[in-house]
Symmetry: C2
């Protein structure tokens, strides 16, 4: 058995550690120099939704975003795992309409919103969710906008060209995969390939390469001019519309609303987080061994931001509340805390 990754997060109750979360962390600069490495940063992991900003680069670099006149909110939604709140679903619908198609073009599948109030509102209205409520509908609307632009360039019918865009061999997905490969510098031809929740491929990439890609996204160094411009545009869009990238009460939206372009961070399923810290020229990639996204990786990411970035005022208060989380029970009594373990906490 290989040695275990370090414990990054503790769940405390009654004065003892009740549960613990192990994982690995890579922090690199855009030259590939390692700033921090905890655990195994060379094992390929599926980055899932943490790399949506990389997957959205072709939407901007191709000229599609300009062709369809996409707004900050729409570009932020293209990088999002949103809560399926009404404004998220409406914004995805608007993106599709600009490109001349509708919800029928989306191949992500439908699911009930992540946002609790939106579930209950749909249920109370007696309606069911559509693909617009899928947390990935913005990313998919971005793929569709890219595909409609390419179809127009080729003089092909949109719906015919788009059909099957989630498949690895489709022209749209090939552009997306090429952007992943270019930014991470990790060859994907031989990489393990899984299918993501929204049916697109997810390729196994080491944390080292993911952190490098995010250092590049934050600085533009090591990217093509087109990708560098696209990365800058997407970071600005998310900073201008942070609520679109996640939603009410969610970590990414709260952190980016507080810190603006100082942080670009994005969660992925199965306990993955990636972030760019442009002022430091650093990229960050985290994977919890147990795949815990709901609580562990957020605490880890908050602790890393605290450890790396100088913070003050409301931003410092917010990050402190996210790296040391009160757990309350059904009567509102504090019963425990989630805290960064010593390996991770700010020194």
């Amino acid at each position: 058995m290989t040695s275990a990754n370090p414990i990054l997060v503790h769940a405390l109750r009654g004065g003892i550690v009740e549960s613990m979360h192990r994982g690995a962390v890579a922090v690199l600069d855009a030259t590939g120099a390692v700033h921090t490495a905890l655990g195994d940063i060379d094992r390929p992991i599926f980055p899932r939704s943490a790399v949506k900003v990389l997957q959205a680069l072709p939407l901007v670099a191709s000229g599609a975003a300009e062709r369809w006149g996409l707004t900050d909110a729409e570009l932020a939604l293209a990088c999002a795992s949103h809560g399926g709140e009404p404004r998220h679903a409406d914004t995805a619908a608007a993106m599709l309409a600009k490109a001349g198609v509708d919800v029928g073009a989306l191949e992500c599948g439908a699911h009930w919103p992540y946002h609790d109030g939106s579930i209950k509102a749909l249920a109370a209205a007696g309606t069911s969710p559509s693909a617009l409520h899928n947390n990935c509908s913005g990313k998919h609307a971005g793929f569709v906008c890219l595909g409609c632009h390419r179809a127009e360039e080729r003089g092909q019918a949109r719906r015919g060209f788009l059909s099957g865009y989630v498949r690895p061999e489709h022209a749209v997905m090939q552009e997306v995969t090429a952007a992943l490969e270019a930014t991470t510098g990790h060859p994907l031809a031989g990489a393990a390939r899984g299918t993501d929740g929204c049916s697109i491929p997810t390729y196994a990439i080491p944390l080292r390469a993911l952190a490098l890609a995010f250092a590049r996204v934050g600085t533009g160094q090591g990217l093509s001019d087109a990708h560098a411009r696209a990365a800058r545009r997407l970071r600005a869009a998310v900073a201008a519309a942070p609520d679109m990238v996640a939603g009410t009460g969610r970590f990414d939206s709260r952190v980016m609303a507080a810190l603006g372009e100082r942080v670009f961070c994005k969660v992925g399923a199965e306990g993955v987080y990636c972030a760019a810290l442009p002022e430091l020229g650093l990229g960050v990639a985290v994977k919890m061994d147990d795949g815990n996204t709901a609580r562990a990786v957020e605490v880890a990411m908050a602790a890393l931001i605290e450890r790396l970035l100088p913070l003050a005022g409301e931003a410092a208060t917010l990050l402190a509340s996210l790296s040391d989380v009160r757990l309350v029970n059904w009567n509102g009594i504090e019963v425990g805390r989630l805290q960064a373990a010593p390996a991770l906490a700010a020194g």
Copy 2:
């Protein structure tokens, strides 16, 4: 750093291990002899809801269950972490009514049902959940029935006697704690004490002692006559009404519906499971290090049942589907599996 517990469960995607869950397993007989030990079985852990059957022993042993004429369904609910489906809430209400009180006596707090359809039905009806929907309402109704019986014996007013029954020092909770101590053989005076989700105390107890307690519950050996009779009564009640102990589509209900009194198993928060296998004279206790209840500990428990019990027909098919779980995405495509790791799988 102490050595890590073994990997018990793998989450697979795209031909590789995407995430992994470590934990510890104790299997003992009623004499305390160890049948199987994986990882550290002597570290005290909070058993949470996995010991509800132990906490329900005083309800029966005291004569309260007989005094109020509790049915199989009601006794099963006293051992339950139920889904808050209408029949669960109604059964909790019926228990309270038999003892002459109502929902106002419950001190567990209210939360939305675990059962998805019941959330949407409440939302569609424009109503909010009450303490009857709390997954612990049956356990609390059992505490209240015990308290009403003791109040009657003492000639005290019910509501006055019951007030604060969730507190460690209350007479009702003292009886519950004494049953935990007697069955596990683990002294609780010096044990770490946390507050559970439903506001009662949870005491840290090693897996070794928890597995011993469940071997005793399954066999009666090592228990007082009153506890042995109560354990037999509660096991029979849950076998007769397995739907009450969890609910629609839930692991404990499905397994006990298929296996009857051959297995008594009960999940607890933060990745805990306990089980009694009476025909083998064995008790089982599992804790996932990462606290994963939603997927990891169920796969571990299913694999242990398969490994320990001879199974055939529908029961074998059911357990195989629970120890090797298909993961499908929003389009219904199989994207991965949850599987017992080699350390755990049937030999």
